[in-house]
């Protein structure tokens, strides 16, 4: 089986072909979404979930901590954004900052509890904490609005210096989310290709060795957990804006499980871009299969089960294997005799 570090990650410049393709698709999306029969709101949703999934993969794929309660931090971000708009002041940057801060704080506290757990115990503890947040969101009626959640969250104006732009319609909100996403992706790319990212992968491969080399494994795990929660909080703030509400459903185990499915099916375990593919696949399944039959989740679930059985490396792993095969056959045709043992 291949893993993340078998695919050489080119360090340094984030301007790779994959990044170029990603940015190009993202920035042209408003022009082709409607002609191919989709709608702009879907673009916003996909962009937010990509942001969430990429941040989550820092934890899931890179350091190998399998959190099953990550929806909680998205939810915390969403509620923080909403509460800030309703209780303090209507401000875009303020709301997003508070969303990130709140999720970071929640992640830091939970991270302190779970970072020394290993394997399945880590997964179980994250589920328990996720359920605590979810339960709290439902039961703290006076703050969170209970099961209905916070309704009527505004989409505040974008203020940059002297400029003041209205982003309350879906197209301009899409542009805003897309720009944030590009910035976040470049930041994440820098993180995983920096020495810090290498340490994360070292910890996933062999925790004891990483410890003996002198890294403070607990601290790095905790930092990664917190960082990943911060990205979830940002995604949550944007999500509250997109939905114009915040509700407990996103914190449920079901949603936290779905994000794991998306990351895995796309190949988050083997590639930086895996989560992106996974999110796309999920939303395509939801909107296209969902348009044909109401039981689309049945087909998505079946696809997922088959994927885990035959190709647990996901779509990205599949692409990697196909490319390797392609390169091998090309090599064979170019120089068949020069390297016989290779064939």
């Amino acid at each position: 089986m291949i893993s993340l570090s078998d695919i050489p990650a080119r360090g340094g410049s984030p301007f790779t072909p994959a990044m170029g393709l990603f940015v190009a698709l993202l920035l042209t999306a408003p022009f082709w979404l409607e002609p191919i029969g989709l709608y702009h709101y879907l673009g916003i949703e996909i962009a937010i979930w990509i942001l969430f999934a990429l941040g989550f993969n820092l934890l899931f794929g890179f350091i190998g901590l399998h959190s099953f309660g990550h929806g909680a931090y998205l939810g915390v971000g969403a509620y923080a954004f909403g509460l800030f708009q309703q209780e303090v002041t209507v401000s875009l940057w303020g709301g997003l900052a508070v969303a990130i801060l709140a999720a970071t704080l929640a992640g830091a506290i939970v991270g302190a509890f779970v970072s020394h757990r290993r394997g399945i115990y880590f997964a179980l503890m994250t589920i328990a904490f996720g359920q605590v947040f979810w339960f709290g969101a439902i039961k703290l009626h006076s703050i969170t609005g209970g099961e209905d959640g916070l309704l009527g969250i505004a989409r505040p104006d974008l203020v940059v210096g002297p400029m003041r732009l209205d982003i309350s319609d879906n197209i301009s909100l899409y542009w805003f989310v897309a720009v944030i996403l590009v910035l976040a992706v470049v930041a994440l790319w820098r993180i995983v290709n920096a020495p810090f990212g290498r340490v994360l992968q070292a910890i996933r491969q062999n925790e004891t060795r990483a410890q003996f080399v002198g890294y403070n494994v607990w601290l790095i795990k905790w930092l990664t957990f917190t960082l990943s929660a911060a990205f979830a909080g940002l995604a949550g703030g944007l999500f509250a804006m997109a939905q114009e509400s915040a509700y407990p459903d996103v914190m449920s185990l079901h949603q936290s499980g779905l994000i794991v499915m998306m990351v895995l099916i796309g190949g988050g375990l083997v590639s930086f871009w895996g989560p992106v593919l996974g999110v796309l696949l999920y939303f395509i399944a939801r909107d296209i299969i969902g348009g044909i039959t109401e039981t689309w989740l049945l087909w998505f679930g079946l696809m997922f089960v088959i994927m885990v059985m035959v190709r647990p490396e996901g779509v990205a792993g599949l692409i990697h294997v196909l490319r390797q095969k392609f390169a091998q056959t090309q090599q064979k045709t170019v120089a068949p005799a020069s390297n016989p043992e290779r064939a």
Binding site: F113, G119, I120, Y121, A128, F129, M309, V310
Partner: protein, 306 residues
């Protein structure tokens, strides 16, 4: 203190019911080191199969169907108690067959596959039985309420708790006092040696998974009259089972039973003071216990930690 008594009794019965749910789960975790997230779906599936058996849904309005419905409900109920778990076992065995490629890989894959299977089963239930709430009728003899010490108790809850006790005893007897139990335990301890002794391990795994699934189905039939039956009931059920296994210690039979009773008591007693928060108490109990004892109350080292 006296006013707490009914809550403690409620908590104890609830704990026994939790133990019944967790029984199949702990068996599969302990023997196969697979976290079976589809456990709750098998629970629901067992209950739905029993529902279809009890209501004669299988046979429609054929002559046999009419004859079947004319039978006394007690007889049909007992029959459903046998058929439901058996069919759930069949579904569990299919999941086990799908699980085979994940053996020897990280435990994460087993967990993910069963999560996918849970989704599939839930959607299938929606497709076949619809999304609405259903209820399972039980015979008159175990329905209704009775008075004890000036307090009203539900007869069915006591029947269910007694049944749970019986099931716990039965599984314990099977694992500890029969040669089959010995092989299963040996298989979880040292699978290579068991294979070297000539036992077919893959058949053993299939049977254990089927047995665990049938226990889930049985729990479903027993608990449905109390908790109601919805397609997503699986998720509501797998979480307590999960927590109980972790609190009790993965793979420990008595740990699971003890944890289930503790969880039941904490939910029951919290219910006396803050009913809205009663279900929250089990998560806090988990965080408190696992925060101190990382392997749970009676846990031992397991491959799932890697």
């Amino acid at each position: 203190m006296m006013e707490l008594v009914p809550h403690i009794i409620n908590g104890l019965t609830l704990g026994l019911l939790f133990a019944l749910i967790a029984l199949g789960f702990t068996l599969i975790v302990g023997v196969m080191e697979v976290i079976n997230l589809a456990h709750g779906s098998l629970f629901a599936l067992g209950a739905y199969f029993a529902l279809a058996t009890l209501g004669g849904g299988w046979f429609g309005s054929t002559e046999f169907g009419v004859w079947w419905l004319s039978l006394p409900i007690g007889m049909r109920y007992v029959f459903a108690l046998v058929v439901g778990p058996l069919l759930a076992a069949g579904a569990g065995m299919i999941i086990e067959l799908c699980l085979r490629p994940t053996y020897g890989k990280a435990p994460l894959y087993g967990l993910l596959l069963t999560f996918g299977a849970a989704l599939v089963v839930e959607e299938l239930i929606r497709l076949i039985w619809g999304t609405g709430e259903q209820s399972l009728t039980v015979p008159q003899a175990i329905n209704g309420a009775f008075l004890m010490g000036g307090l009203i108790f539900s007869k069915y809850k006591f029947f269910a708790a007694g049944f749970a006790l019986l099931a716990i005893g039965g599984v314990w007897f099977f694992l500890e006092r029969t040669p089959y139990g010995a092989i299963i335990k040996a298989g979880s301890h040292d699978s290579e040696m068991v294979r070297a002794l000539g036992y077919d391990l893959s058949k053993l795994r299939l049977l254990v998974f089927g047995f665990g699934a049938s226990l889930a189905g049985l729990a479903g039939i027993i608990l449905t009259p109390i908790w109601g039956l919805r397609p997503h009931v699986g998720l509501d059920v797998v979480i307590p089972a999960f927590l109980i296994i972790v609190i009790g210690g993965v793979g420990s039979f008595w740990g699971a039973v003890l944890a289930a009773v503790l969880v039941g008591l904490s939910v029951g007693i919290t219910g006396a003071y803050a009913p809205a928060w009663s279900m929250m108490s089990m998560y806090l109990l988990l965080i408190a216990i696992v925060g101190v004892r990382s392997r749970g109350l009676l846990g031992r080292k397991s491959a799932l930690e890697n």
